[in-house]
Amino acid sequence: MSEERGGGGRGRGGKKDDKGKGEGRPRGGFFRRRRVCKFCADKIDYINYKDVRLLSPFIPERGKIQPRRISGTCAKHQRALQIAIARARQLALIPYVTD
């Protein structure tokens, strides 16, 4: 719990630390920002548009693409993700809109 690795570990134990600038949203304290890009962390080189399970965490109920500031995806991978989602939508693997 007290053991925090350099760089990556801002997990459950990081309540008391106040060094980060991007974290600690004013309201909704339970909402913890995810700092690491999923694709960088998992070392995914190619975001496959056919892999719905890979894309689905980035598409909340409404069907819109989750913004980078919430998902924590890096710019490079967000761009690739956009393309992958657009392709998957065309193939009716994921919806354009859901209400």
């Binding site: 990556g8 339970f30 913890r32 190619y46 548009y49 909340p60 109920e61 065309q90 009716a92």
Partner: protein
């Protein structure tokens, strides 16, 4: 003049079409590929799958994924043919050779960087199974908290 490239073709066959019709369509595409001196590298039939939204009046469809190596003219012809085929409700061609190359380069790059750093620290270049870091769990737990907040 025209270059050989690798493409991925995905098409969705209407749910009204029989298994035989799907097979026929596949042989048709195979013939076109042969006629243009291309090669059909891989075929994947996902079977019947529910669509995320209605296309025409179809709610589900049979997905077929084909990996084809050939020229742009070949893909153009396949595209034209699929366009006029009524049983195909949707199709898409994506060029993949470039993406594969990029992914490969990234992988080798990462490997060599890792090896260099590890040797600099006096470790064997390949990570040993025993020194696997157990940081995955906390990450995933974080994920679940986030999804819970989003999903309501």
């Amino acid at each position: 003049m025209s270059q050989t490239r690798q493409y991925e073709l995905v098409y969705i066959v209407s749910p009204d079409a029989s298994e035989q019709a799907v097979a026929d369509l596949h042989t048709q595409i195979e013939q076109i590929v042969q006629r243009f001196n291309g090669t059909l590298d891989k075929t994947e039939n996902w079977g019947r799958r529910k669509l995320a939204y209605e296309i025409g009046h179809a709610r589900e469809g049979t997905y077929v994924v084909e990996t084809i190596t050939g020229t742009g003219e070949l893909m153009k012809e396949i595209d034209r043919r699929l366009r006029v085929t009524d049983t195909v409700i949707r199709h898409m061609t994506v060029r993949i050779d470039e993406d594969i190359r990029v992914a490969e380069r990234l992988r080798t790059q990462r490997k060599s960087t890792q090896a260099r750093r590890r040797t600099a620290r006096g470790l064997p270049p390949e990570p040993q199974p025993s020194e696997r870091r157990g940081d995955r769990d906390s990450d995933d737990a974080d994920d679940m908290i986030m999804e819970g907040a989003e999903g309501r």
